[in-house]
Amino acid sequence: MNAYEKVKCTREAGRATAKDYIDAMFDGFVEFHGDRRFGDDPALIGGVATLDGKPVTVLGIEKGRDVSEHVARNFGCVSPEGYRKALRLMKQAEKFSRPVVCIVDTQGANCGIGAEERGEGAAIAENLYEMMDLHTPVLTLMVGEGSSGGALALAVADEIWMLENAYFTVVSPEACASILYKDSARAPEAAEHLKLAAQDLIEMGIIERVIAEPRDFTDPAQCKAYMEKLRDEVAGKLHALRGKKMNTLLSDRYEKYRKIGRCAPEGAMPAPKKH
């Protein structure tokens, strides 16, 4: 598949959404609502569960599986209160020393009047700022769409894993094409140039792992085997991250973001020695 075929594939019905991952991989999920500031954003599901018997906080951007769900979940476009709910639950995870798993699937943050009035930019900024210093392990799974700051707001993590057909981009290929070529029909070209596919991003050091997808998400047997394997791998990674000293965990996370695109030598802290 070329880059744009992958983008289209993430938008197909039948593909597992965040809720499917939560149901299949975690036990005893309890959903918590609201940001305790303004409201509850249905595009962002959050709560606690166990994974392999150990407590975790789970956050997922859910776009819904059919038209009525799409509408109810605002197509997975998260509003400021969704990001603030996510941050509230992440700080709770930090308090109770449980790791955070973020499941990202979004065409971008909510683009609307209320979202601007309530500080979409400020909400995303605060997540980036706090997640970099969150004193507990964070693992992000990019399972479908991952567009712009709205996806990054749940992707400041110790590791980012991406499905082989998922995409993660600074701007949607359609928006990129309409800005550059004044023609959104040239999105396939833009998708190629943006280097948004998992294979490109692992080469750049943006992500840590590419996850093989089941050939058919709608086949229950294939999907079950896929989810079980992923669950075991996530549990294994969280176990390894829990074993790290907190200072090491945090300085490694900082350095992961700091080192990519490093070009300004003056004043910068020297890169820390390898542990």
Binding site: A109, E117, Y254, G261, M269
Partner: protein, 270 residues
């Protein structure tokens, strides 16, 4: 630290060019506009101010020392036409990329400064912008210095793909490190401050101010109009809108900024 003093100011005050006011569209000489601090003498509208003019306006005389002035963008993901765009932006702005960083004094207070440059691809944030600002915050944290920043940006620079989105997280992390050590950060949003810059370091100051009338927002206004089908008023995403919604500490006129910032630096001086 560089021994270079002010890079030679582009000669706005001796300019013989005729320009159009960005607000009232009236023609006037660039010299006249520069003499008025890039505020239109006809309509009072704020025009975009070149980064080095801002530094001249803000800093005590002869105190600015630039950092990382030689760093230039590369076409890291081989994006078509990006090399040409970079060359054109350099020629238009006289800068190597979209931000000028360094140390200075403001009303006697030592400070680290970053000022974004609108003439360089509308202040879009790529790896050079992100990395220079992150390095500045690290330097400031190491030396217990406050940071003052001026933002102007159309958002992340799409020609660098994910590497530019990444800078939002990188700079936010560096701001956090600086803040955790008890250091002061003031940011002034100028017209326009949007997209990935709004969704990162423009909204992370201990004090966040804006210039009168500046556009400050996350999503593009036209995009919101398309998505919602609502025609938005001129006041939408203005500095006044942001102040009313609680996202700014204040709106400070250009001619008062030096005194305002100097006063707050003195209050937070260690």
């Amino acid at each position: 630290m560089s021994d270079m003093k002010h890079k030679e100011l582009p000669d706005y005050l001796g300019s013989t060019l005729t320009v159009k006011c960005e607000k009232c569209k009236e023609e006037l000489s660039e010299r006249e506009l520069a003499e008025h601090g890039f505020i239109c003498p006809r309509c009072g509208g704020y025009n975009r101010m070149p980064a080095r003019m801002r530094l001249a306006m803000l800093c005590d005389e002869d105190t600015f020392r630039e950092m990382n002035e030689c760093v230039e963008s590369e076409n890291l993901i081989s994006f078509p036409d990006y090399d040409e765009k970079l060359a054109a932006a350099k020629a238009k702005s006289g800068e190597r990329d979209g931000v000028v960083c360094g140390t200075a004094r403001i009303c006697g207070n030592p400070v680290c400064l970053f000022v974004m440059e609108s003439k360089f691809m509308m202040g879009s944030m790529g790896t050079v912008v992100g990395d220079k600002i992150a390095a500045l915050f690290e330097y400031a944290a190491k030396h217990s210095l406050p940071v003052v920043g001026y933002t102007v940006s159309g958002g992340a620079r799409m020609q660098e793909g994910m590497l530019s989105l990444w800078q939002m997280a990188k700079v936010s992390g560096a701001v956090k490190k600086h803040s955790n050590a008890g250091n002061f950060y003031l940011v002034c949003c100028t017209d326009p401050t949007t997209g990935g810059v709004t969704a990162s370091y423009a909204m992370l100051g201990d004090v966040i101010i804006a210039e009168p009338g500046a556009l400050v927002g996350f999503a593009g206004k036209r995009v919101i109009e398309q998505v919602t089908g609502v025609k938005l008023p001129a006041s939408f995403q203005s500095a006044e809108f942001q102040l009313g919604n609680g996202f700014l500490d204040d709106i400070v006129p250009r001619e008062e900024q030096r005194g305002y910032i100097g006063h707050l630096l003195a209050i937070h001086r260690k």
